[in-house]
Amino acid sequence: MSNQDTPLLQINNIEVIYDHVILVLKGVSLNVPKGSIIALLGANGAGKSTTLKSISGLLGAERGVVTKGNILYKDQQVESQSPADLVDHGVIQVMEGRHCFEHLTIEENLLTGAYTLSGGRKAVAKNLEMVYQYFPRLAERRKSQAGYTSGGEQQMCAVGRALMSNPEMILLDEPSMGLAPQLVEDIFEIIKQLNEQEGVTFLLAEQNTNIALRYSDFGYIMENGRIVMEGLASELAENEDVKEFYLGISKEGKKNFRNVKNYRRRKRWLT
C-alpha cells in the first residue's frame, strides 16, 4: 500500500472543541486510501474516538464541533453533514461499546441498519444474507433479543448492522473492547475478509496495538489530541518506541513484572 493514491478520506488539520471550552483535537491530519485498513492507536483520552466521531458527524450530538481544518470524503467537505447524510454517502461508524438496540432482536437490529438503503426488500434481503454469511453466529441467534446475547455477538451485530447499509467505509471504534482474545482474533479476521472480499475501507481506533498493527496496512499513533507518529503497520510494529510503550516489549524482551522494581512503600499514618 502506498500513501500516494488519492485518498478516500482526507482529514486536514482539524481541531475539535467540546462544549465551547474543551479542546480535544489539536490539529489532526490523516489520509485513508480506498480499500485499506488504517489503524488509529493510542491510550485512553488520546482523541481516537473524537476523530472518528468528527468524521461520522456524531460529534454534534455530544456538543462537539470542528472549529478548524476540514474533512474531505471523496473530495467533498463533510464536517457539517448529519450522520444520516454520511451513511447515505457510504460512511458509517460502529460505536465504541457496541450500542446494539437491546430490546430488538438481532435480526431487527440488522434491519435498522438498512434504514437508508434504497432498492426495496430485495436489496435488504440480499444484504441480510451477506451478513449472515460473514457472521454465521448471528444467523443462529437471529430471534434473540440483542440485550441477552454475549459481548462478542453484540460486537458482531454492531458490525453487521453497519454492513447492512452497503458502506464504502466503516469507522470502527474499539472492536476489541471487553472481548476474549480469541474472539478479538475472530473479529479482526472477519474485518480482513470484508476488506478483501467486499472492498470495504476501514478506519479503526484501537487500544490493542498488537493485533491492530497485525491486521492493518498503515497506522497513526495519537497522544493528547495530536498524531505523534505514523507509518506502515509493519514498520510501526518494529519501532523501538512503539515496542516499549505500546507493545510492552523492551530491548531485553518481554518485561517480567516480578522483576520490576517497586517504590518502597511509604510508612502509613497510624501504623
Partner: protein, 330 residues
C-alpha cells in the same frame, strides 16, 4: 413466545376480574344470591370507560416508546386537538373536513415542537426532555384557549348516546361507549402492526433504545420525532373527540391525562396493547370496587382505587404487565 405469554396474562386478568373479584365481593357482602346481570353491567360499563382511559394512555406510550421521554403534555395535546376541531367546525367546515384540517394542524404542531424544542435538546438527559414537555403542556393549554376561547363547547359526532339493551334486555350498555371501544381496538391493532413490522416502526423502537446508536446507523432523529409527535397528536385527536363529545370540550380534558398514569403503570410504558389492557383493568376495577366493595368501607373508592392498584404494581412489577423488561447483563 412473547405473544403467547401476553395472551396468558390477558386471560389471567379476565379471570381475576370476572371470577375472583365478584366472588370475594359476594362473600364479603354476605349475599346468598349474587346479582350476576347487575355485576356484568357494571363490569362492562367499567371496561368501556377503561377504553376511554386507554385512548389517552396510548398517546403517552407512543412517545415514550419512540423517544424514551415521558410526555407530560399529552393531556394538553388532547385538549388542543379537541379545541381546534370544535373551533374549525364552528367556522363552518363540515365535520369530516374539520377532522382532516385538525390532523394537518397536529402535524404542524409536531414539526414546530421538533424545531423549537426537541432539536435543541438532542442527547440531553430524559429528565430535561421531560421538563421541556411540561413547558409544552402549559403553552398548549394557554394557546388553545386563547385561540378558541375557554368556555365549554359542545362536540357532537352524531352517534347516539342512548343506552341500548343487550342480552335479552338484561344488561344496559351505552352505544357510544361501544363505538369508542371499536375505535380504540382499530387503533391498537394498527399501531401494533406499525411498530412491529414496518421500517419506520422499527426505527422508532431503535431510537427509544439508544439515541446515539440510532443516529450512527443513519436514522434521522428529526424525522422520527416529527412522525411520533404527529401520531401522538392524531391519537390525542381521537381521544379528544371521544372525551369531548362525552363531557364537552373544556379545560378539564387536559386533566384526564392524570387518569392515564395508573393505566400506564399497569400496562407498561412501552406497550401499545398494555395501554389497552391497563385501561380495561383500571376501568372495570374502579367501577366494580365502587359498586361492590365501597359500601363495606364507607364508599368513595373510585377516586383512588386506580392509584392504589398502580402502587401495588410498582412494588411487584415495576415494568408493568407488558412493559419491556429492564435488561441487565451481569
Amino acid at each position: 413466545m412473547r405473544i403467547e405469554r401476553d395472551i396468558i396474562y390477558i386471560i389471567l386478568a379476565f379471570i381475576v376480574l370476572m371470577v375472583v373479584v365478584p366472588w370475594t365481593a359476594g362473600q364479603l357482602s354476605d349475599q346468598i344470591f349474587f346479582n350476576w346481570p347487575f355485576f356484568f353491567e357494571v363490569a362492562i360499563g367499567g371496561l368501556l370507560s377503561g377504553v376511554m382511559y386507554s385512548l389517552i394512555a396510548l398517546g403517552f406510550v407512543l412517545i415514550f416508546k419512540a423517544s424514551g421521554v415521558f410526555n407530560f403534555s399529552q393531556g394538553a395535546i388532547v385538549l388542543f386537538a379537541a379545541l381546534t376541531l370544535v373551533g374549525l367546525h364552528g367556522l363552518g367546515l363540515p365535520m369530516w373536513l374539520a377532522i382532516v384540517a385538525t390532523m394537518g394542524v397536529m402535524f404542524l404542531l409536531a414539526v414546530s415542537i421538533e424545531r423549537l424544542v426537541l432539536s435543541k435538546l438532542v442527547n440531553q438527559e430524559p429528565i430535561i426532555l421531560f421538563m421541556a414537555t411540561i413547558g409544552i403542556a402549559y403553552f398548549l393549554d394557554g394557546f388553545g384557549q386563547t385561540l378558541w376561547g375557554s368556555e365549554v363547547k359542545v362536540l357532537s359526532l352524531g352517534i347516539s348516546e342512548a343506552p341500548g339493551f343487550y342480552f335479552d334486555g338484561q344488561i344496559l350498555i351505552n352505544d357510544f361507549d361501544l363505538f369508542a371501544a371499536g375505535i380504540a381496538a382499530v387503533m391498537v391493532v394498527g399501531l401494533s402492526i406499525f411498530f412491529q413490522y414496518t421500517r419506520i416502526g422499527r426505527a422508532l423502537r431503535a431510537v427509544a433504545d439508544d439515541h446515539q446508536a440510532a443516529l450512527s446507523v443513519g436514522i434521522p432523529l428529526k424525522h422520527i420525532w416529527i412522525i411520533v409527535w404527529t401520531v401522538a397528536g392524531l391519537v390525542g385527536l381521537v381521544a379528544g373527540m371521544m372525551w369531548g363529545s362525552k363531557m364537552g370540550v373544556q379545560f378539564a380534558l387536559s386533566l384526564i391525562a392524570l387518569k392515564a398514569l395508573p393505566v400506564l403503570i399497569l400496562g407498561g410504558f412501552t406497550s401499545v396493547p398494555g395501554a389497552i389492557i391497563g385501561g380495561l383493568i383500571i376501568g372495570a376495577g374502579e367501577k366494580l370496587a365502587e359498586v361492590f366493595l365501597a359500601p363495606m368501607i364507607g364508599g368513595g373508592i373510585e377516586e383512588w382505587f386506580a392509584y392504589m392498584l398502580a402502587l401495588l404494581f410498582l412494588v411487584f412489577r415495576p415494568q408493568g404487565l407488558f412493559g419491556e423488561k429492564i435488561i441487565e447483563r451481569v
